[in-house]
Every structure is written in structure tokens, then in C-alpha cells.
């Protein structure tokens, strides 16, 4: 019962099987989130590497009651922001508005087998970072708006409006998909 709690307790007891289970259980989602946020698969892997090291290092101090996935997603989002800040230049789309259509085929799309999904991914990476982060946390991370608001320290209404903008922009970007090859 309460598998995540159970896994975390096993992890606190330095059980490698628990680490492997957590990794297998959440890797796909975490990797998709990290890549979506960073638009760079190697940076995303570095990000996840750091997150799992942190999970093990801080395991006794982690206060996770039932939602280990939520905790890991927040770690990924924080680490992604740190990574972007550390790039010593203003990250693309972190605060500025990007163009309203797909201009660049992201090389990550080669790692996505489904063509439609690859197009959507490419569109997601064109969103302004604030919108992209909320879209990814909500849709891929399964986080509700109030939780995202708490995590980001902004109002729920701001989260909702940014999400709405993100959807509208994605719709517009995908509408023009025929103009661009993936």
C-alpha cells in the first residue's frame, strides 16, 4: 500500500531495488518534462541525473507523504530553471515571447517516434518558458493549477491564463504545421 511511501522508505534504507523501481516508474514522464523544458536531450539527462542524486542524498530529509512523482517533477522543474540560468545567457523563451509559429526543427524530435507527437513537441518548445513550464507541469506532470501556483509562487489565475495562452499558441502553431517539415 502507498507504494511511493514504501519505496521511499526502502530507499532510506539504501535499497538499490527501490531506486531502480522509482527510476523505472517515473523516468518516461520526467524525461519528457525535462526535455520539453530544456529543448536539449543531453541537458535533460544531466538534469535527471542530478535529480536522482539529490533524491538519494536528501532522502532522509524529504517530506513526501504520498506524491513522490510530484516531488520529482518539482525537482526537475527547479533543476531545469537552474540549468537555464547557468547557461550564462538569457535562455531562449525563458521570459521573452517567441515567434508564433514553428521556426526551427528541434533535433529532439528525432527521438520521438510518433510524427504527430514530434510536431507537438516542436511546438511546445516554441512556447515562452513561463507558458511552457505550466503546460508541461499540468499536462505531463499531472499537477493541478493550485499546486502549480504554490510551486511557482504565483496566483492560480495567472497559472490559468498562462495555460490558456499556451493552448491557444499551440493551436496556432499546429494549425500551420503544413507549412513546416518536422
Amino acid at each position: 500500500m502507498l507504494e511511493d511511501q514504501h519505496l521511499l522508505k526502502q530507499l532510506r534504507a539504501a535499497d538499490p531495488d527501490a531506486l531502480q523501481r522509482i527510476y523505472e516508474k517515473y523516468l518516461d514522464d520526467l524525461l519528457a518534462i525535462a526535455v520539453s523544458l530544456l529543448s536539449d536531450v543531453h541537458a535533460a539527462e544531466d538534469c535527471l541525473h542530478d535529480v536522482f542524486v539529490k533524491l538519494v542524498s536528501d532522502t532522509k530529509g524529504i517530506k513526501v507523504r504520498f506524491n513522490l512523482k510530484g516531488y520529482l517533477i518539482c525537482c526537475v522543474a527547479n533543476r531545469a530553471r537552474d540549468y537555464l540560468r547557468q547557461r550564462a545567457r538569457k535562455p531562449e523563451g525563458l521570459s521573452a515571447e517567441s515567434g508564433n509559429h514553428v521556426e526551427v526543427n528541434n533535433p529532439v524530435t528525432r527521438l520521438i517516434e510518433d510524427e504527430e507527437a514530434a510536431k507537438l513537441f516542436n511546438a511546445i518548445t516554441q512556447l515562452p518558458y513561463e507558458q511552457r513550464e505550466i503546460f508541461v507541469l499540468h499536462v505531463r506532470g499531472g499537477m493541478r493549477f493550485p499546486r502549480i501556483a504554490d510551486f511557482l509562487g504565483i496566483s492560480v489565475n495567472t497559472v490559468r491564463s498562462r495555460y490558456r495562452y499556451a493552448i491557444e499558441k499551440l493551436q496556432a502553431l499546429l494549425q500551420r504545421k503544413n507549412d513546416y517539415e518536422i
Binding site: D4, A14, P16, L19, V35, F52, G70, V108, L120
Partner: protein
């Protein structure tokens, strides 16, 4: 134009394909870090999930832990009137030991040991640590036995390693090996007993020794500044031994499983009593499954300990210390506030399953497929949650 739902659905389906090497690289650092932590003591939470079978039969640790405490204290060999080796010699002649006491995290226990020449290796052991459930060790094997239901579960032979054996002779012997300074131990003679006090920075403990037989008759923890340290140890740890009696005849048959006992397939079957679970009379099995799942979910949200332990065998493994910890955390942190049945009840083999979720403020925090088993006891049908599909059965 794609709808919002279409976009969300597609986004959820995005899969980033990575080869095995890349996937392995992500985990390499964590693995290395974890290996470095391997020698540290697990904290209390690792014990919440500790297997009951180990708890019941780790009696060897009872004495060993006490010995370790004494050993670090560097005991002097003797006072003019009493020497600790007198106790060691006396223990060598013991035939049976009967004692009751309290573990740090398993509560009260009662134990019988029987020896046949070697005081470090009992031939028989009986231990009751959880009310109706008993652990029996004898040349015939190792069993968990429920004296109420007469259900017995034979534990596999390969678990009968040395960790099962109480080295009672080592109770004081190991302490003698560490004899040296007198700064942490004091021995005094009182009216009816010899008092051996051990002082360490975190706790004070004492043994009472019978001045006539020189055998230890009780053990108690007088001061403990860090009880959670003892809770977190690998083995069962003693808080007190109320009394130790020697060379009494054990109750007849205490080391035997009655001939009419019913051998059960699962260890958890031994835990069930007629008072366990939910009386399912008058309900169909699917109805009973839904009802016990709902009641368990509510009890979890309310942290209703009595109800949880009654309905779900898993929670019988929780020690009083753990419940106290959970109560504090419930007050200070977000806690489950919604339990939802998410699918139809279905049957597989001897179990029934109830798909469900636990949620905090609308967020799904745990998916659970409750495993329910039905028993016929005292003319009534009861159902009990014995585990979850995601985590296996309580054992």
C-alpha cells in the same frame, strides 16, 4: 484546429526514445551515492515496512543489543562482593528461561527458551509479540501460529539461520570481554538485589541481579534521550525486561503446534481473527469489497488507527512509535483527503481486487488496487484487506 483535449492527449503520449546506455547514465550517480549510504542505519520509515516475520523471530537481537550497550561501557570485572563472571557461570547452568518485557517498537512480548547444555543455543523458543500471534521454534521447524484460530504457517527451512538463536549466555559474557574501566558502570548492593547500572551519554540502563543465584532478573531503561535511535536499529531492541525466571517448566505443548491446527498458504492468514476485517454477511462479495475499501480509505484519511488495523492487515505492522510519528505528520503536512474507487471489483484466484486512488486536494497521489480475502470464522463470513496489487501482500 486541434482541440485542447487533443493537444493534452497528444502531449501525454510524447515518448522520448533513449538507448539503454543513456538511460543507465542517468541513474549512475544515484547508484554510486546509494552505495555509499549502504552502511548507514535505516531510519524509522524503513521499519514501518519491515516484515513481520522478521520482527517475530529476530529474538536473537534481544540479548545481543543489550550486550552491545554494555560492551561500549567498559565494565570493570568485579566488586568485592560480586563479580560479573559469577553471572556468566550461573547462566551456563540454566535449563529454561521465561521472560516478559517491552521492545522499543514492537511493544510488549513474552518469551520461553529451553536449553539442552548449550546456553547460547536454545533447542526450543516460543515468543508472543503481537497478542494472538506466536512464533514457535523447535527441532520440528519454525512456525507462526494463531492460538485463536489454530491457523499455522510453516516458515521455510532456509530461514532457520543463526539469527534465530538467542545467545543467552552472551548476555553478560560479551560484557566481560570488554571489561576495563569503571567509569560507565556502577554495581551496588541493595536489599534484595545487586544493581548493575550502565551510563552512556544517551541513556541509563540497569540490570537487577539475584544476589543468591547471581542470575539477572530484570533489565530496564531508566533514562533515554534518543529513543528513536533504538527504534531505527536493524534488530528488535529492548526497552525493558520486566522479569526473567529460570528453570521453570514451560506450559505443556507450548513449543508444539497442535495436531488439529490448520496449515495455511499465506503467513497473513495467521494474522486474521474473527474480529478482523468486515463482517460480510448479507452482502455479495463485490459489495463487501467495496464497503471495506471505502471504510479503509476513510480510516486512512482520518488516521483512525484502530479501524485501519482491523480492516487492513498491512497496518498491523505499524509500531506505536510509527503511529505517533504519523499523527504528528498528519497535523503538520498535507494529508490524503479523498479516497476514490476507480474501477469495478474483480476476482482473481483467492483474492478480490478493488481499483482505487488516494488523493490530496484533488491530486492523485497513490494508485492502489486493494487485495481482499474472505474467511469463514465462527459461522460468519469476514473480508479483510491483505495487501495491494501494487505492493503485494502484507507479510
Amino acid at each position: 484546429m486541434k482541440s485542447e483535449n487533443d493537444i493534452e492527449r497528444m502531449a501525454k503520449e510524447i515518448r522520448i526514445t533513449r538507448d539503454a546506455v543513456s538511460r543507465e547514465r542517468i541513474l549512475a550517480g544515484a547508484r554510486e551515492k546509494l552505495q555509499g549510504l549502504g552502511d548507514t542505519h535505516p531510519d524509522i520509515w524503513s521499519y514501518i515496512m519491515k516484515r513481520r516475520s522478521i520482527q517475530l523471530t529476530a529474538a536473537a537481537a534481544i540479548i545481543l543489543v543489550a550486550v552491545a550497550i554494555i560492551s561500549i561501557s567498559r565494565i570493570d570485572v568485579a566488586t568485592p562482593a560480586y563479580a560479573l563472571d559469577q553471572t556468566i557461570d550461573a547462566i551456563k547452568k540454566v535449563k529454561t528461561v521465561h521472560m516478559t518485557g517491552e521492545f522499543y517498537w514492537r511493544g510488549e512480548f513474552e518469551c520461553w527458551l529451553q536449553f539442552d547444555g548449550n546456553p547460547d543455543v536454545p533447542t526450543h523458543m516460543w515468543m508472543s509479540n503481537c497478542g494472538h500471534l506466536e512464533g514457535i521454534y523447535s527441532p520440528d521447524g519454525l512456525f507462526h501460529f494463531n492460538r485463536t484460530t489454530h491457523y499455522v504457517f510453516p516458515i521455510s527451512q532456509d530461514q532457520r539461520g543463526r539469527r534465530w538463536i538467542i545467545k543467552f549466555n552472551s548476555f553478560f559474557k560479551d560484557a566481560m570481554k570488554a571489561a576495563g574501566k569503571m567509569d560507565a558502570v556502577s554495581i551496588s548492593h541493595e536489599e534484595e538485589s545487586i544493581v548493575v547500572r550502565i551510563h552512556t551519554p544517551k541513556r541509563d540502563q540497569q540490570f537487577l541481579v539475584d544476589p543468591e543465584t547471581k542470575l539477572p532478573i530484570s533489565f530496564s531503561t531508566i533514562r533515554d534521550d534518543d529513543p528513536m535511535e533504538m527504534v531505527s536499529r536493524q534488530a528488535l531492541t529492548l526497552r525493558n525486561i520486566d522479569w526473567i525466571r529460570y528453570n521453570e517448566d514451560p506450559p505443556e505443548g507450548i513449543f508444539n503446534v497442535p495436531a488439529d491446527a490448520t496449515i495455511v498458504r499465506n503467513d497473513f492468514d495467521c494474522w486474521v481473527t474473527p474480529d478482523s476485517g468486515l463482517v460480510a454477511d448479507g452482502m455479495t462479495k463485490p459489495e463487501a469489497c467495496l464497503e471495506i475499501a471505502r471504510q479503509t480509505g476513510k480510516a486512512l484519511i482520518d488516521l483512525d488507527i484502530e479501524r485501519l488495523c482491523k480492516l487492513d492487515l498491512f497496518f498491523l505492522q505499524y509500531a506505536p512509535e510509527h503511529w505517533e510519528l504519523l499523527k504528528k505528520r498528519k497535523e503538520s503536512e498535507p494529508w490524503a483527503n479523498e479516497y476514490v474507487i476507480t474501477g469495478d471489483v474483480y476476482e482473481e484466484g483467492e483474492f478480490w481486487y478493488v481499483p482505487s486512488e488516494i488523493r490530496i486536494n484533488g491530486d492523485t497521489c497513490e494508485v492502489l488496487t486493494m487485495m481482499v480475502k474472505f474467511y469463514e470464522m465462527e459461522g460468519k463470513t469476514i473480508c479483510v484487506i491483505v495487501g495491494a496489487k501494487e505492493t503485494g501482500v502484507a507479510d
